[in-house]
Point group: D3
């Protein structure tokens, strides 16, 4: 099963040897959605115009999580992350969209960094408003695009952003 | 806005004071789904009967992430976790379901621990098979149920498991 | 030298045995100051009325650092922190004041948690505006007060806040 | 296979549920040995009478590692460690002995904390003198004794210390 | 005492300046042994053919620990690890052998990464079967070989593997 | 507000994109002061000639904190630190001076690493002698000098050391 490159010859997981891969510029964008009651989204928006809002905390959480990716995902290589950014968008009256972007120059990609940032930012939003709306659902977390590396550019059909409009 | 208890009097985020809350038994179950190509799920299943499979790594990642929750979610309180477990289920031919359970005796709940475990286990699955199927989507991550604390028992309508059948 | 309780019988550092100390409510407030050019303080203030400002990031950094205290200070005991809060004040035209408060119910105090939160919040402010003002000085970081434990209440003469006026 | 309590009903690893175990005073002592060239041990001894010696660093490393145990050993429960101490002994002309002691009041024991402290202190010694003696062997790392919990007191036949004489 | 390069001019420990060392390919292999009752080894072997076994968890623990090495060993430099792998072997009826391999391209070597991976994998095995066999001994943890760097290749006489036969 | 480069186009904090900056040799020296009762400084000095003294622990804490900088300061980039050193000085009868130096070859500087090392070493001194002198003040923590990068060399007027005389 050569496709499962993370397996060693004993059939066990290993951190794949990437020492002979070339260093290239790598980018990745990941999206996550949080569906909530419209009034919860409204409250987040209100906080949005004040200092110390929910999204400011989620932003920091996402960026710090991106830097912890290799400490969280067992077979991930440690990466000298060169850029991390998180943007918020909205879709309809009940959906907050998290768009996380990561960049580096490295032998491995930053897909997991972007996905981890998006997921943890979404979970932080959940944590901060859960007393209002325990039924929120974090849905549709995926890789929107990546560039660099041997497998080159990947882009979902969805387009060039995570969707929705700017929050 | 009393509903946003994580705000201090300057309108900034704080770690809410829980020193006067009572210690009770707390449990939480969270679910996450990963939609993939049927052949990817098939490959995971094949690995499933061998040592060192994808799910064994995801299991460990989820449990270790549960213990890191307060280091990842900025306003989360550190918790003496007393139990953490992850089970895998499947739904249709293309969906792997992660069911994460956490338990403690504490003044705050373990919802975030269960959700973090489920999310990180799902991201670990993604990481390990992404070379086969970069378009996988992590969808529908939510709290299935919780018990304990002042707000008492919460249970989604979905029922008593994360759905699907045992993997 | 009985006063250095952190020494073992070989004259080496140890994490002091606190297993026979009583659990009491513990609080601590620590202060840190950052002296900068008046125009730098002005810029921080401007950011203050927008989302995503410098102080929102410093706030999160301080609270997360409080939770990492026992991982940073070698002989510190791990503590189930029950509350952490950071407030900002100003003094004159060039000084930002950080006031950090920590609380727990434990056999050891939370002085180091409050001091670590104040220091790391101050360093985060430095990091975010250093391109404007590399000569900033973090000065006067101290314990304002503590309560609980065998040594009881301690309070500096300075009074009941870290000084200055609300930012 | 009831003896492998760390398995869930799917045959996968879990963090065992300890929520119904009683809190008792727990202690554990672990030993590790490092065999080296006699001249290496001599050099460590010389450093021993100066500030900043090899053993001071190893001591701090061991104590900090004890606090990280549940972050290193996947199925270990997080523990409010109440005491951690490391002592050094010697055996013959070529063996340094590390003796690590941990204590808490908790539902689970501190064997892993003591063993992790002893191992990491030994590895730190290795790191600091490896340029002199790459062939050093860390040998015989074991639990000397433990007290508390349902399984009660355990003591190896070796006696009451890790052996050797005080360094 | 020029041989103790980790000392600064005050006789205190420092993280040695490696900024003028050349980047070369670095590898290291370390071994650890765990002696246990034959029936304990037998039970591990039985688990070996099922999903979620003891060794799968130890494998993940070892690889994750390799990535944490510079956070555990005070004077170790942070390293962009490019490969980490762990294999299990057995010797006689009572000894499990852990073989850990690390690789990078860097100015410093990966000996400590390989040793930390082997030690933590061994401690994880101990943790998971200690209820059956508290008297297990982790013995003989050493560097088998290393390549790269100014000091070049090092190889113990033992040969090219950690000994024993494949598990 | 181009001066606040850490803001994204939504006015939120981001980890600045440094992927197009050039790698250069970077150094930074930071200073921190701790003012205490003369008898406390005297006691630290006495410990100074024994093994396991306060400053040995503070030294290790500072160096380990330097390696954790990007985990503590939210918008800091992870850095392959190549050297970290801490020296102690004294000023008058009541002031201990911490001088921390960091070095790397990287696209971003090491100012925050040096400042974090100095601050955490100072806080560790506070922790270890606070039972004697709770009123200690950590004052005047600043960047003494830096070299490398686009902004080039920076040096405070104070001179070439953190002041005082060797401890």
């Amino acid at each position: 099963m050569d496709s499962f490159t993370h397996m060693n010859e004993q059939g066990r997981a290993r951190m794949v040897d990437v020492s002979d891969k070339k260093t290239t510029r790598r980018t990745a964008v990941a999206c996550a959605r949080i569906r909530m009651k419209p009034e919860t989204l409204e409250k987040i928006r209100e906080g949005n115009v004040r200092k110390g809002d929910v999204l400011a905390v989620a932003q920091v959480a996402g960026i710090m999580a991106a830097k912890k990716t290799s400490d969280l995902i067992p077979m991930c290589h440690p990466i000298p992350l060169k850029s991390a950014d998180i943007r918020f968008r909205e879709e309809g009256k009940d959906t907050l969209v998290v768009e996380a972007e990561a960049k580096t120059d490295n032998v491995t990609g930053v897909e997991m960094e972007a996905l981890t940032a998006a997921s943890m930012a979404a979970l932080t939003v959940y944590d901060m408003v859960k007393s209002l709306d325990r039924g929120m659902v974090i849905g549709e977390t995926f890789l929107l695009s990546k560039t660099g590396g041997k497998s080159g550019t990947y882009r979902r059909e969805e387009g060039t952003s995570c969707g929705g409009s700017e929050f």
